[in-house]
């Protein structure tokens, strides 16, 4: 019994790790952990993550096909839908998953290396990665069904999704910090993603709206990104007037800065239970 009861000595005396080494080790470990918890949990969850956009598309195509057959909902309607849905889901999943990230990992803050922001960033990495996989999978299925889904502007498409990821992460960190002491806020934030879904022009073309409404809708940075994503896929698709790339980037920077400021101000409080 005595032989194995003595704890193993570290072969070399442990060297002081630099801040960067600690940060890297923590993020790497957290990403692995999130990934295992996310994928390894229940297979039904993994399957749903994968087919959610497709199920969405199928449902909308069926319903709208019955309701009316207007000209622009031609044979390419699924492509129109998917090119808006996927970037929107990227944002929504990031924002809502990050919101619960601190609570879900609270036990880990007993290890001094782990800070709340680490859990949020690693979650953002995993979520973005998962969504990009779903993205590729959905496009592949549509291509297999015979739709043309190769983006005409691949760089633009990547750019749009990168901004989407940053915006979703910024918004997620922000709502995680703000809702930490007000957990009820979370269901409210989750509910607002529904009108946001409509206001981002995911299922219909905002061009069809009267000008005075469109001006208000253009305040929503997601609308810009959704329209730009479509334009990147379908060159013939002309984005609504007033859509540009600068505005969502500026909003992303502003949201990111605000999230960091509030995180910094609240960082000590986030570790403890309210």
């Amino acid at each position: 019994m005595n032989a194995n009861i003595l704890p193993p000595r570290t072969p070399e005396p442990m060297r002081r790790r630099s801040a960067w080494e600690v940060q890297r080790a923590v993020l790497f470990a957290l990403v692995l952990r999130e990934m295992k918890a996310r994928v390894g949990g229940q297979w039904i969850g993994a399957v749903w993550t994968l087919v959610e956009p497709l199920a969405h598309v199928m449902m909308l195509v069926t319903i709208l096909g019955f309701v009316r057959n207007s000209a622009h909902r031609g044979p390419d309607y699924p492509v129109f839908l998917v090119t808006g849905l996927l970037p929107f889901f990227l944002f929504r999943h990031l924002a809502t998953r990050l919101m619960d990230g601190i609570d879900a990992n609270r036990g880990l803050f007993a290890y001094r290396q782990v800070k709340p922001l680490d859990t949020l960033l690693s979650r953002a990495c995993v979520e973005a990665l998962m969504n990009l996989l779903v993205y590729a999978f959905t496009l592949a299925i549509l291509a297999w069904l015979g739709y043309s889904v190769l983006p005409a502007g691949p760089l633009e498409m990547l750019g749009v999704n990168l901004v989407m990821i940053l915006l979703g992460t910024g918004f997620g960190v922000l709502s995680a910090v703000v809702s930490h002491e007000r957990p009820r806020l979370r269901s409210f934030i989750r509910m607002t993603t529904m009108p946001l879904y409509l206001a981002s022009g995911v299922i219909f073309q905002v061009d069809l709206l009267p000008r005075e409404y469109l001006d208000w809708l253009l305040l929503n940075p997601l609308l810009h990104l959704v329209e730009l994503s479509r334009h990147a896929f379908i060159p013939a698709y002309v984005p609504a007037e007033g859509v540009n790339a600068i505005y969502p980037v500026l909003v992303t920077l502003a949201v990111g800065a605000l999230a960091m400021l509030l995180y910094r101000a609240n960082r000590l409080r986030l570790v403890t239970t309210s």
Binding site: L6, T10, A37, G40, A110, Y111, R112, Q113
Partner: protein, 222 residues
């Protein structure tokens, strides 16, 4: 060396801000096994959290060149949908162990916990005793200069308790312990210095019995 420099720590409560420590300067006696005693709410656990880097002081600092553990036997950090092995690997990784170092630590925890095949099952199926076995083994797998113990781990059956004590004592040959307890026999067993925490002040008692008397004096007066 562990030193508290002008340390202030407060918490917000509904009745305003409560100060646990105000401008506290204190140097821990080097190379001793330290028992923190004091009434409930005196700030023992807060002090332990500050030492463990879990909480940060409002002002001032905890200055140290020692490696201080996380609270020994802590099982709150386990993700129950992951296996014990995956949880142990996670803690090894954040502490910078990889490759052979990681494998040897995982092997040690597995041998120590003696939970058989459960080691590779999700921890949600564990009893609390099995969880504590893994948690305690994990703490003992790392070389620290100071082990923080918040209330002594009286977990598991008699055989496991004896083994825990044995391995703890083996660790204490090269390391020290900072321990909070209301159980005086534990203090007498592990510690050679007592710190009496009372009303935001810390008093050192080199003589354990004198420290215990001071604590019991305030406890009965209160």
């Amino acid at each position: 060396m562990i030193e508290l420099r002008a340390l202030t720590k407060s918490y917000r409560t509904r009745q305003g801000r409560r100060y646990v420590f105000r401008n506290l300067n204190f140097t821990f006696p080097p190379g001793s096994n330290i028992g923190l005693i004091g009434r409930n709410g005196a700030g023992k656990s807060t002090l332990l959290r500050l030492l463990g880097g879990i909480d940060q002081p409002d002002h001032g600092a905890v200055v140290t060149d020692c490696r201080i553990s996380w609270p020994v036997g802590l099982s709150g950090g386990f993700q129950t949908s992951l296996t014990a092995r995956e949880n142990v690997q996670f803690v090894c990784r954040i502490h910078g162990a990889h490759g052979e170092a990681l494998r040897s630590k995982v092997r040690f925890v597995q041998d120590f916990a003696e939970i058989g095949d459960y080691f590779d099952l999700p921890m949600r199926s564990f009893s609390s005793g099995m969880r504590s076995r893994v948690a305690f083994g994990l703490s003992m797998a790392f070389d620290f200069d100071y082990y923080l113990i918040d209330e002594v781990m009286a977990v598991g059956d008699a055989q496991f308790r004896a083994k825990s004590k044995e391995v703890m004592m083996a660790r204490l040959k090269q390391a020290n312990v900072i321990l909070t307890s209301h159980n005086m026999p534990d203090i007498r067993l592990y510690c050679n210095v007592v710190l009496h925490v009372d009303q935001g002040r810390v008093a050192v008692h080199e003589d354990i019995e004198a420290g215990i008397r001071a604590y019991q004096g305030t406890a009965s007066a209160a």
